[in-house]
């Protein structure tokens, strides 16, 4: 198979995680400065760097700037991140001089719960003082959400995760919608994309409500609606997500290999 053929050949045998990672990767533009956490975001950013966006700049909250790991790291503080970084700075500096100062184009976020405006909960399920499930907490998310130019959210879709009302707002997305985020006085335009195992959602330009824009191959609108804890808005011109190409999948598996 020629390189071109690999590039254009659609793959058929891929996992849901691989699909989500490849979509997150495609969403990055060459030259973007990306604030990444571990897991799919890190893999996606490294994939983008190896494929269509060689000049994407990776910044990890552990203080490594412009890292070029050969493999997606296992942890946010991997030694390889420091070894391949242009600069290693302290954690206070990464948050103040780099994130808060507005030098980040895209931040990645995940969550246990998301609402229709892209607000996120990573703190607690149930009552704060008497939790049903205690989650890890905020981490870097609240300031990534208001420091980065925009955010990309990666999250599997179910009625457990896509909820009508968050038990706790850890991280602001589009707040109450309809421009209320900007009125908070925060920076950045908020979540621009939500990538799930079923499809892709983006905020409505007027109401900021997350709207299903694309379905992954083989998934249905009914599945998406059933996996959402509020009456899901669906775009009138719903598209089908382009399946991973062989090229993307090969590159992804190289990046992920350990």
């Amino acid at each position: 198979m020629t390189a071109e053929a690999i590039n254009t050949t659609t793959a058929t045998d891929y996992t849901t995680d691989e699909m989500m990672t490849i979509i997150a990767s495609r969403d990055l533009n060459n030259g973007d400065v990306v604030f990444v956490g571990i897991g799919i975001p890190s893999t996606a950013a490294n994939l983008a760097r190896r494929t269509h966006a060689p000049d994407v700049v990776l910044i990890y909250e552990s203080g490594t700037i412009d890292t070029k790991p050969t493999r997606a790291p296992l942890s946010i503080g991997d030694g390889e991140l420091a070894e391949t970084a242009v600069a290693v700075v302290s954690v206070p500096e990464i948050f103040a001089y780099w994130l808060q100062a507005g030098r980040i184009d895209v931040g990645f976020l995940g969550a246990a719960q998301l609402d229709r405006h892209g607000n996120l909960n990573t703190t607690v399920i149930g009552d704060y003082d008497h939790p049903r499930v205690r989650l890890p907490g905020a981490g870097g998310a609240p300031e990534i959400a208001i420091g980065a130019g925009r955010t990309s959210i990666v999250l599997r879709q179910s009625t457990r995760t896509f909820v009508d009302k968050l038990d706790y707002v850890t991280t602001v997305g589009h707040h109450h919608g309809s421009g209320s985020r900007a009125a908070l006085g925060v920076r950045g335009s908020g979540p621009s994309i939500v990538i799930t195992d079923i499809g892709i959602l983006r905020p409505d330009p007027v109401t900021d409500e997350l709207t299903l824009m694309s379905l992954h191959p083989g998934r249905t609108v009914e599945e998406a609606i059933a996996a959402t804890g509020w009456p899901l808005k669906v775009a009138s011109e719903l598209t089908t997500t382009q399946a991973p190409s062989e090229l993307e999948l090969t590159a992804l598996r190289e990046v992920s290999a350990r």
Binding site: I38, S62, A96, Q100, P131
Partner: protein, 284 residues
Amino acid sequence: MKNITTLTDAIAEHIHDGDTVALEGFTHLIPFAAGHEIIRQQRRDLRLVRMTPDVIYDQMIGAGCARGLIFSWGGNPGVGSLHRFREAVDVGYPHPLAIEEHSHAGMSVRYTAGASGLPFGTMRGYLGTDITKHTATIRTIECPFTGEPLAAVAALNPDVGIIHAQQADKDGNVGFWGIQGVQKEAILASTRAIVTVEEVVDSFDSRVRVVLPSWVLSAVAVVPRGAHPSYTHGYYDRDNAYYRAWDEISRDRATFADWVRTHILETRDFADHLAMLDSSMAQV
């Protein structure tokens, strides 16, 4: 060399029941040996501070050292939940745990303010979240020039700050490199400071990037592999198997208690603990 001592003596002298104690290290250089020595000496009622309370604090909380926790992200990175932490929060076992939650940025601003001798720090943060409703050390402040609202967070000044580093020199100055986290700020924000190091050297490795002079450090103790199972850049890698195994060990109260007894309380020191791990088939 007047500040160079043993870890046993350092913990005995500088950590008292009820102290506010920060063990820092961001994935890299986590001071496990010091945490174990605190468990071994059975300190109680500590208010623990740490951006990422991971396995080390799960061990300390489960062993009954803590009555409070100030933190920003509590989990076993790449593995899952911290079962001892969760059981303390959810049902108050072995003790109720008063938690004070911030974000990473907030914790780093709090340490920075503490290290700077300021009572608070300013940041763009927390806006639109519920965090402020449950955390008293966050207020709103107005810029006196532009009028815009910003978050103010109270300075953090622990009684004791503890970190692990690669090297001390013979004068008791400490140097480290690699991912540096918030360690310098944690030490400079604290009233007393303890550092464990891999070794004492005649002169620092050229890779050293952060140096803490001896006169800001209460005690320096040589503890080879003192950050295990986290890693020390240039010395040893992260023991990912230990982190994965921890999930099973910590899930059950009895299994956990047995592990703490045999691996910490009944070992003389961290070298003894490591020897036991090395000789064990199951590792942990």
